[in-house]
Every structure is written in structure tokens, then in C-alpha cells.
């Protein structure tokens, strides 16, 4: 099973782009999706059942969407838990963590308010397409296996 996690607060304008992208994704067999305001330790329970995970998150600034594999691990832990820390917690508490990627989508406005800026809105189709392709590749890989 592949898991897509949209991270962000829709009440902080472009911070809501992660949930927006995830909610626009088509349905894929053997894939699950969820949206969260922030990463929390309880998400390790969902990671346990996943073969791969994709985090979709806003990035302040940035010129284009970026899809990258998570290779590092976080050994510290803050009130704001990042993907690296969540994966490390899953590995330590449950013995393993799935392969993980982050899809970063540029945003410019992070103040109070609903709705994306025009610039962030413009990146949504591209982000949905990249996330869909990532899911399709996983589908091929899983079928092949």
C-alpha cells in the first residue's frame, strides 16, 4: 500500500496547498491518502502498513514543484515534527519505516486566511500530475512484484 500525506493548515493560505493537492488526486487502487495540519507521532501507526509514503507540503519561496526522496533521518525532535523525524520514530518504535518522498509545492502567502494565492494555485495541476505519476509508478512496481 502507498500512502500520500498532505501536510498543511488551510486557514493559513498557501500552507493549505498540501491538503489541496491530496484532495484533488484521483483514486488509485492499493493507495491511501490523508491530510493533516502537522505530522504527529500517531502517524507512525499509518506508516506501519505502507510500502511507500509521499509527503506533500508547501515550501516558502521556491520556483517550481520538487519531488525528492527522503534519505536523511532526524535524530532530534521538535514540536514541529518533520518527515525525517517521523520516519526515524517509526523505525525506532516499530522496527521499520517505508521508503519516503517529499513533494514540495511553492507558496508565497502564509498569513491568516483561506484560499491559495494565484501563484500557489498555478502549481496545483503540476503537483497533482507529479503525485499521480508517483502513485502510478508504485502501482506498476507493486503489480510487477
Amino acid at each position: 500500500m502507498d500512502l500520500v500525506i498532505g501536510i498543511g493548515n488551510p486557514l493559513r493560505q498557501d500552507d493549505g496547498i498540501g491538503p489541496r493537492v491530496v484532495e484533488a488526486l484521483p483514486v488509485f487502487p492499493s493507495a491511501e491518502a490523508c491530510v493533516v495540519c502537522e505530522l504527529v507521532p500517531e502517524l507512525t501507526l499509518r506508516l506501519r502498513g505502507a510500502r511507500r509514503v509521499l509527503f506533500v507540503d508547501a515550501e516558502a519561496g521556491g520556483a517550481e514543484t520538487q519531488l525528492g526522496r527522503v534519505t536523511g533521518r532526524e535524530s532530534g525532535w521538535g514540536h514541529t515534527l518533520g518527515p525525517e523525524g517521523l520516519l526515524e520514530l517509526a523505525a525506532r518504535a516499530f522496527g521499520s519505516a517505508p521508503d519516503a518522498w517529499v513533494l514540495s509545492v511553492p507558496g508565497v502567502n502564509f498569513g491568516y486566511g483561506e484560499g491559495l494565492s494565484d501563484r500557489a494555485e498555478g502549481f496545483v495541476p503540476q503537483a497533482v500530475e507529479r503525485a499521480s505519476r508517483w502513485l502510478s509508478e508504485g502501482q506498476v512496481s507493486a503489480d510487477g512484484a
Partner: protein, 473 residues
């Protein structure tokens, strides 16, 4: 030379605060202050909004305990509508608050305080967090994560989402509970009970006699909390009781709507958090404590078998009512056990599934007070409305506020015991922070770093010059 030690920010609490320790010329601790350095201003935001909006609006005070504000606000709304809330709605609200107690206490114990307890107060601060705990005590961490997830899932099954569920409303709740969701919650209780039994046993074996838990932050105070009409532990409804340091009731059976008869509020120029006090003794002599330790000290019993056995042992270990601040952790674990036992009882009540869950009415009273027990203590919402139900004034006394005087006293006691001749290290400062952390204060839902955040301690001379700096990074 007089000096000042500043701990800023205080970590592993919800919100922003700092501690200053004022040393005298001999290096002893003259005074200690816990400053809350943020302002939320919700009492002002409420003015001009309708009473029906208040639960959803005040839920936004916090991302950890929105359920507490929703329920207190809905109860204040019940009083303004002056309706009879359906039995099912009362049971559902009660069930949600029990889920809230479980998830919030689990967060406080396993994520925020267990690293101190299981890894050591003076252990490497870079590892003194839940990741370090997972490395050292993987099984305990797994249990803690699953326990909190259960509490959160209970809230979601009832209210539709885990954070800020706009569910409780004046007159009841917005939707009934389905049988499948009721059965799912019930199916998870045994595992949660197993987790808390294991954790309680481990806590008692390891920490109940540790120096930090038995010596530091031990001082007498009054205690305030809700109890049932016959004196049992209560979290939703009931009457207010105030007891002295030995458990003798000073006020009993007080209608919570009359809280102002016994609670006054003071302010200090160095903190945004108000200082509630027991009115008959005045300020600051009228210091009291609420929350897990307060509730255990005001009640006669829990009314459930396992929690009552734990309460008896708790009191035997502490020779009666405990004044030890680190016993907040112990009390928190016992309250999780009690909450799970009470959840079983509520879930077995067939009235829980009744379809009628809301009574509707117009404005029938100009004032409403909602009081209930949040994880951190007694929570009071007090609204005044016009004939259209628009709020004209609001007074909120949040659980953490009740403990403000006691939190300041706690760090003073710990600092005086641990800092000698002006000497201190990171481990000592963490014990002092731990004196705040034990209360599990919720200063806001603001984001701040934990574990990794630099902690800067400055020793300032009488002329304002920094004479010593300690940085934790």
C-alpha cells in the same frame, strides 16, 4: 551581588513562557517567576458573536484541548437556552471528555515527560525527547502512541474530526453516535487498559520513590475540583469542592455557576496569565491547585474498582493528600485508568445510541456559566448575552490559570533545593522546568521547538551586565 537566571523558552509545554530565577548576594534563590509571554485575547474575540457560535469559536483557543473548550462553552450555552439536554447528549459529551482525558494525558506523559523520567533529568538534552525514548524504551513508546491514538480516534468517531470538532452545541450535540462507532470504541478499551496498567506498574516501581518525585516541589496548598453530589471524582457536571492541604473540605456542594463566590482573579505586570486565588484567603495566600493532582485530592473516591484501588495506594504512599508536584504524573496515569473504566460504563448504556441528541430553544437567560474538568483542571466559561443571544461580555478561567500561583511556588521550591551558592547546570535547570511541565500547562497551541530548541540561561549582574551564559542546543 544579586543575579538573575533566565530559562527561555520553557520547553515541552504547550505555548510560550520563560522562567527567571533571582539569586541573592550569597547565591541562594530569592525569588522565581514563571512568565507567560503570549497574549491570546479570546475574551475580547467573543464579544459580538452569538452564543451558538461560541463552542466552535472558543475551540480555536487550542489545538490540544479544543474538546475541553467546546464542552465548557456548550454547557454555558445550555444555561442560556435553559433547556433540558437529552440524556444521550450528556452521555456523548461525557464519552468525548473521557477520550480527551485519555489522549491529552497520554501526550503529556509519554511524549513530554517520560523522556525526563526514563532517560534521566540530566541526560543528553539532544536525546531527551520521544525519539530518544523510542530508542531506549521501544515497547513503552509504542504503547503510548497507540493509547493517544485511541483517545484521538474516540474524539473523531464522535465529532467527525480529531481537532476542533464543531460537535457540542448549546442544547446538546450535532449528531448521534452510530452503533458501529460505539462498538469500535468499546473494542479498543481492553488494550488501552492493559497499557495503562503496565505503565502504572512501571511508574510505581521506578519513580514513586525517586528523589525528584518525593522531595522536589513538595508544598502545601488548597485544591479545587468538581465532584459528584456524593463526593466521587467528576469531570462533567457535579459540584465544586475546595479542600485544604490535608483534604478537609472548606467549600462543598457549591453550584459551579457560583464560582465567583470562592475564586477571585489577580494580575501581575510580568505575566499575561491571570492569577486566580481562593477568595476567602485573599491574594496570594489563596493559592490552590487543579488538574489531576487537584482532582485526586478533592474526591473521596473514583467509583470504579481499579482506580479506587490505585487511589488508596496513592494516598498510602503520600500519607494522605499529596502536595508533591511530581505526583501530577502519578495522578495523571490513575486518571487515564479511571477514564477507561468509566468509558466502559458509558459505552454499555443503550441511551448512548438514542437519535435525539439536541434540544432547541431561544434565549431564556442573560447569563450562562459552563464548568467542567479539562485534562489540566477546572475550566470555566462565563458569558453574558443580550436578548438576541449576542455575547456582550465573557470571562474564561482556563485550567492552567488556576495553577499559576502554584506553578510559581513549584519552581521556587525546586530552585531553592537544587541551586546552592549560585551554581547550576543544565540538569538542574531541566528539573526546574520539569516543575512546570508536571502541571502540563497549556499556554496556547502555538508552535515552539522541543528538545532541539536552544535554551539560553543568562546570569545578570546588578548593573544589567551578563556575567554568565549557559546555552543548551
Amino acid at each position: 551581588m544579586e543575579r538573575e537566571i533566565r530559562i527561555e523558552p520553557v520547553t515541552r509545554v504547550e505555548g510560550h513562557g520563560k522562567i527567571t530565577l533571582h539569586l541573592d548576594k550569597k547565591g541562594g534563590v530569592r525569588d522565581a517567576r514563571f512568565h507567560v509571554t503570549e497574549l491570546r485575547g479570546f475574551e475580547e474575540f467573543c464579544v459580538g458573536r452569538t452564543v451558538w457560535e461560541m463552542p466552535a469559536l472558543t475551540a480555536r483557543i487550542c489545538g490540544i484541548c479544543p474538546v475541553s473548550h467546546i464542552l465548557a462553552s456548550a454547557r454555558a450555552g445550555d444555561a442560556i437556552l435553559a433547556v433540558r439536554v437529552p440524556d444521550a447528549a450528556h452521555l456523548l459529551r461525557r464519552l468525548m471528555n473521557l477520550g480527551q482525558l485519555v489522549q491529552s494525558h497520554a501526550l503529556s506523559f509519554f511524549y513530554l515527560s517520560a523522556p525526563d523520567l526514563f532517560l534521566g533529568w540530566a541526560s543528553d538534552p539532544a536525546k531527551r525527547n520521544v525519539l530518544g525514548l523510542a530508542e531506549a524504551r521501544g515497547d513503552l513508546t509504542r504503547k503510548g502512541i497507540r493509547l493517544r491514538a485511541f483517545g484521538q480516534e474516540t474524539i473523531e468517531r464522535l465529532g467527525g474530526k480529531r481537532i476542533h470538532p464543531a460537535w457540542a452545541v448549546p442544547g446538546g450535540v450535532s449528531r448521534p453516535l452510530g452503533r458501529a462507532d460505539r462498538d469500535w470504541i468499546a473494542s479498543q478499551v481492553p488494550e488501552a487498559l492493559d497499557t495503562i496498567r503496565t505503565t502504572l506498574r512501571l511508574f510505581k516501581e521506578t519513580f514513586a520513590t525517586a528523589e525528584e518525585c518525593t522531595v522536589l516541589g513538595d508544598f502545601p496548598s488548597l485544591y479545587v475540583g468538581l465532584v459528584t453530589d456524593d463526593g466521587a471524582w467528576e469531570h462533567y457536571g457535579g459540584v465544586l469542592r475546595v479542600v485544604d492541604a490535608k483534604g478537609k473540605p472548606l467549600v462543598d456542594g457549591l453550584d459551579p455557576a457560583r464560582y465567583e463566590d470562592v475564586i477571585g482573579e489577580a494580575a501581575e505586570p510580568w505575566s499575561y496569565l491571570k492569577f486566580p486565588f481562593y477568595r476567602p484567603l485573599g491574594y496570594p495566600k489563596g493559592m490552590y491547585r487543579v488538574g489531576p493532582l487537584g482532582r485526586l485530592n478533592v474526591c473521596d473516591r473514583f467509583g470504579t474498582p481499579e482506580a479506587d484501588a490505585e487511589l488508596e495506594e496513592f494516598r498510602a504512599r503520600g500519607s494522605g493528600r499529596s502536595g508533591r508536584v511530581f505526583d501530577y504524573h502519578y495522578a495523571r496515569l490513575i486518571e487515564i485508568l479511571a477514564s477507561l473504566e468509566q468509558m466502559k460504563t458509558v459505552l454499555e448504556d443503550e441511551r448512548l445510541l438514542a437519535p435525539r441528541v439536541r434540544a432547541e430553544a431561544g434565549i431564556n437567560a442573560e447569563v450562562g456559566v459552563g464548568v467542567h474538568e479539562a485534562p489540566r483542571g477546572t475550566l470555566i466559561h462565563h458569558y453574558w448575552v443580550d436578548p438576541n443571544g449576542v455575547v456582550t461580555a465573557a470571562n474564561l478561567i482556563v485550567s492552567t490559570g488556576h495553577n499559576n500561583l502554584a506553578m510559581n511556588r513549584s519552581i521556587l521550591e525546586i530552585a531553592r533545593r537544587t541551586i546552592k551558592d549560585g551554581a547550576f547546570d543544565e540538569g538542574i535547570l531541566n528539573r526546574i522546568e520539569g516543575g512546570i511541565r508536571a502541571f502540563d500547562p497549556c499556554l496556547s497551541c502555538s508552535v515552539h521547538a522541543l528538545g532541539r530548541l536552544p535554551l539560553e540561561v543568562e546570569v545578570v549582574g546588578p548593573e544589567g551586565a551578563v556575567v554568565q551564559t549557559l546555552v543548551r542546543d
